[in-house]
Symmetry: C2
Subunit: 586 residues, 2 copies
């Protein structure tokens, strides 16, 4: 086996080119086997095996800087840069993360997880290189879909002002996470169909030299193209056509499903588990499809993450013109949503917690200053969302919760979620965001309100001395804490489902003062700037004690949710102890 | 006078085209006269007089939707849509805002102040129109520089998926606020020089039909072009060449200076006042120029707002290759800054508080997760920054102050600002943002620290019972409040300059508990999620009282700073009363 012997790119460079194809097969096999056990970004990694070999064959990393956009497609890169054991030895499978990680290797330039930043990063490297008089190559490797993100354009546009050379490898696999969208995607198709020769070439229109590589799985072909541009003083696009899922038949066939694959049976191509049958994606989709059918003003807009609300290809087709995927372009998605609401439609935008970060300005300005009555669904907003530093869902309450004019709701269970969604879609007075409780589907044991115009917290258990405000996905944790506390002290605490993340129910808070002396807030996000901070501020001028329970800002590169919960003192037992400590000093 | 008689676009449409040039002269005269008294966006408005007349002549607003990007160039639009008195009658000069404002007129679709959103907005309108079966025209009017912003590209790219027609008028005046940057700008020059006929046309590469109008000041010419596209079912770019500052010689000559003009003498073209001689722009520039000369690793990066740190054309030339303007593209600017810091340079990025909103994700991900030791200067971060809802500087502490891994500093005076800047540029361990105290230049009466690695608050007056934490630009307000309080009560309060917006000096806060019972925080920003919220959270489990003084999230469309300060209870007398009220309940 060649792969075992590759401890660094230097070992790769010693191989004759006619052995590289065999190496590629070994790598592909390792990818499929590891992913069948662990899950992971399978289809995108299968597509870039040959391209990655060629990159390391031609360039001299880490002297030459290879920067991979999103970096979810760097499994092959990791195999060739001293981390092959993480793909060959099942006991070491967990030794590497799913993205580039400078702590793992000097070949990984940045921790990256969001799209469309790689060309900016190589611009910065190139500029620094030129200023300091260095001469190495700087290379961005970016998928076609990442070119949809505005920052990729900003950087392509700015490249002209860099003095020295700079290389952008466009890995064109004709896909985003679902199918691609937009005019650029059509132009790339035209380029693919015309051997790279068309009128009005987007890249040339921005001043780039342009090289077309028809078959990105022909290693020698790709090596030749890259050798041609190595040490260039120009700005060059190398447009490499690849096939997402290449070499594993099920993934070639259904590229969206295999973009991120659950553990699977290699023989049958069947996922071993698809996750829980009832999940908030499917629940939301069924509700929205029904609502859209009843009212053609209801529109659903996503930014390349339709599955976060369960819209697979079949359901997107069902929704027809009422469903829009703007590509990986959250700024445009939010602004379109705002304008549609202003016009009189009932638009619902949805994406993951972490991707809302791309559109703060558009939410604050176009959406909220203009009071556009749109709905924004925030998924994966939890310690359980994605468990790494670039994708976790712990910041959105501090981010969206301090925007003037935005109502940010936190349903605690299925019925409440749907009631809030229903209310929000039909109201026409304010922008609303809804934080889906990403801790598993639960059901209400109290009567659900239908109207969320006015800020009213919901008391679900009347007690005394201590009141536990258990927000959204952590409502169950609040219930469990109340039980643990009552068992230990004999005091029955009040339990509150606040429902409103960023608005104060003054009447309720004033009323609590009579029989309570300690308020406990429990939230599935950082406490800095979050829900609890508003309760702490409300009572800060009084003798009332407030204990904010949530996450610190110290979030590791990768984590196990249960461990992070425990180290932040967020178990029923630990919170009970914390309450008792506060009570000692009353 | 024609202008006086125009009460709505209907009156304009009745005019024969041969009278329109006279109307344009009258409008231009009104623009110059009003601006000479009030200040305003003069050069950009002078450039679009004829274009605006043509738009209202051809289209049928408000049925047809005209959406102006940034909307700082809509003075002529306001004149033609029922608001001519605001430009003709000095007593009514203040009756309109400087941007489109739906509260003023049904012809204003949105409150807009940030760039590059207009194409997204028309996409949303067009989609809604098509879904509801309507047929009106939707038209974006966007300046060439706004095309640099990533969102404009995202929308241009998405337009292909809209069913019906959509028109984008590119107002090409060959300028951003300063000169233009990037490859697109070069291509527009090529188009101007070749009568709109070139290879690899950017707009055509994104699937647009393209119409070129060589002289945007020839009204009939522009009218003809617009009539040609009215009611189109296609997606069309109308590229109109105009001259920024047209018709006022000093503004034609120095377009950057006259982009936003201070009140001026019409005859001489001299500004009546340039603002205070000593200002933080000039102070920062002199410091940076000196630092750059000593160390070629020091780089300054801006996103089309070089004047926020005093870099006019002359000083940009002085800085040479160590100065970069990435255009109106904050995402790219921040990511480039992060990469340069990672590489080993000492980059300093600067822009206004409100424009950091565009790059939250890049700051959180590329900059902070990667611990890139760059410096970000935050200007206009104050109630005194810009006094309207789209540009005020009151949100940045809630935005940047809750980002893991970012050190956010608030200097209180000139010496402290420069010491922090100096420290930040030379350190190489963490990303740092510095909030310039935008309340006027003040000087230190205490010894300034040189090192800000460790979080230590600065006590500048030892007192007892009450401690006033006076942050950054509101440090003076804290001092005045301390005096007012002492005069009224005889109690000398402790005064603290916290310096660190988002980090806790635990030792200091613990120490305070001995002789104090009330902490007062005073900050020039919203209190929700801001500095004071962290102090309130710190003490929330104790009997310690914390009074957070700052702004509520209720920020008007336009405001007078002194009035907003007063209505938020932020005068020394009002804060004193608030402290006394807290003390009553001790």
């Amino acid at each position: 086996m060649f792969l075992e012997k590759i401890k660094s790119p230097a070992d790769l460079k010693k191989m004759p080119t006619n052995e590289l194809e065999t190496l590629a097969s070994e790598m592909r096999k390792a990818l499929i086997e590891k992913n069948s056990v662990c899950g992971g970004h399978l289809a995108s990694n299968l597509g870039v095996v040959e391209l990655t070999i060629a990159l390391h064959y031609v360039f001299d990393s880490p002297r030459d800087k290879l920067i991979f956009d999103v970096s979810h497609q760097t499994y092959s890169h990791k195999m060739l840069t001293g981390r092959n054991a993480a793909f060959l030895d099942p006991e070491q499978y967990a030794s590497v993360s799913g993205y580039t990680c400078p702590d793992e290797s000097e070949h990984d330039q940045f921790s990256i997880g969001h799209t469309s930043t790689s060309i900016s990063l190589v611009c910065g490297y190139a500029k620094a290189r030129d200023v300091l008089g260095n001469t190495e190559n700087v290379v961005a490797v970016i998928g076609d879909a990442s070119l949809d993100g505005g920052e990729a354009f900003e950087a392509l546009n700015y490249v002209g002002e860099i003095e020295g050379g700079l290389i952008v490898v466009v890995n064109d696999n004709d896909m985003s996470i679902p199918e691609n969208h937009g005019s650029l995607c059509e132009k790339l198709t035209e380029l693919r169909n015309n051997n790279g020769e068309i009128k009005d070439n987007y890249f040339k229109s921005l001043g780039f030299n342009y090289i077309f590589v028809k078959n990105g799985h022909d290693i020698e072909n790709v090596i030749n193209a890259l050798q041609q541009v190595r040490d260039t003083k120009e700005k060059v696009i190398v447009h490499v056509c690849t096939q997402k899922g290449k070499g594993y038949a099920p993934a070639e066939k259904d590229r969206e499903k295999w973009h991120w694959a659950h553990p699977f049976n290699v023989e049958t191509g069947k996922f071993i588990s698809n996750g829980p049958k009832e999940n908030y994606g499917a629940i939301c989709r069924e509700f929205l499809l029904n609502k859209m059918q009843q009212d053609k003003k209801v529109m659903v807009i996503v930014a390349s993450t339709p599955l976060c609300i369960g819209f697979n290809a079949e359901n997107r087709a069902k929704a027809g013109a009422q469903f829009m995927d703007v590509g990986i372009a959250e700024q445009n998605g939010i602004t379109i949503t705002a304008a549609m609401a202003k016009y009189g439609c009932k638009p619902v935008f949805a994406t993951n917690s972490t991707f809302y970060q791309r559109a703060y300005d558009q939410i604050e300005q176009e959406m909220c200053i203009n009071k556009c009555p749109a709905t924004m669904i925030v998924t994966h907003a939890s310690v359980f969302g994605h468990s790494n530093d670039t994708h976790h869902g712990l910041l959105d309450m501090a981010l969206l919760g301090n925007i003037p004019g935005l109502k940010y709701l936190a349903p605690a269970n299925k019925e409440e979620y749907l009631a809030m969604l229903d209310w929000s879609i039909d109201q026409n007075s304010e922008p609303v965001a809804i934080r889906v409780p990403w801790t598993g589907v639960t059901y209400s044991d109290y009567e659900i309100d239908r109207d969320y115009s006015e800020v009213r917290y919901k008391e679900t258990q009347k007690g005394n001395k201590v009141a536990i405000f258990a927000l959204g996905g952590f409502y169950s944790l609040g219930i469990q804490t109340a039980l643990a506390f009552e068992n230990k002290t004999g005091i029955k605490p009040t339990i509150v489902n606040p429902r409103f993340i960023n608005a104060i129910d003054e009447n309720y808070l004033e009323g609590l003062k009579k029989n309570h002396s300690v308020i406990v807030t429990v939230e599935d996000g950082i406490i800095s700037g979050g829900f609890g901070s508003k309760i702490a501020q409300y009572y800060s001028e009084t003798s009332f004690r407030v204990l904010n329970c949530g996450f610190s800002m110290d979030i590791p590169n990768r984590y196990v949710p249960a461990e992070l919960i425990s180290s932040n003192g967020l178990t029923p037992v630990k919170i009970t102890d914390r309450i008792l400590k506060v009570m000692e000093n009353l």
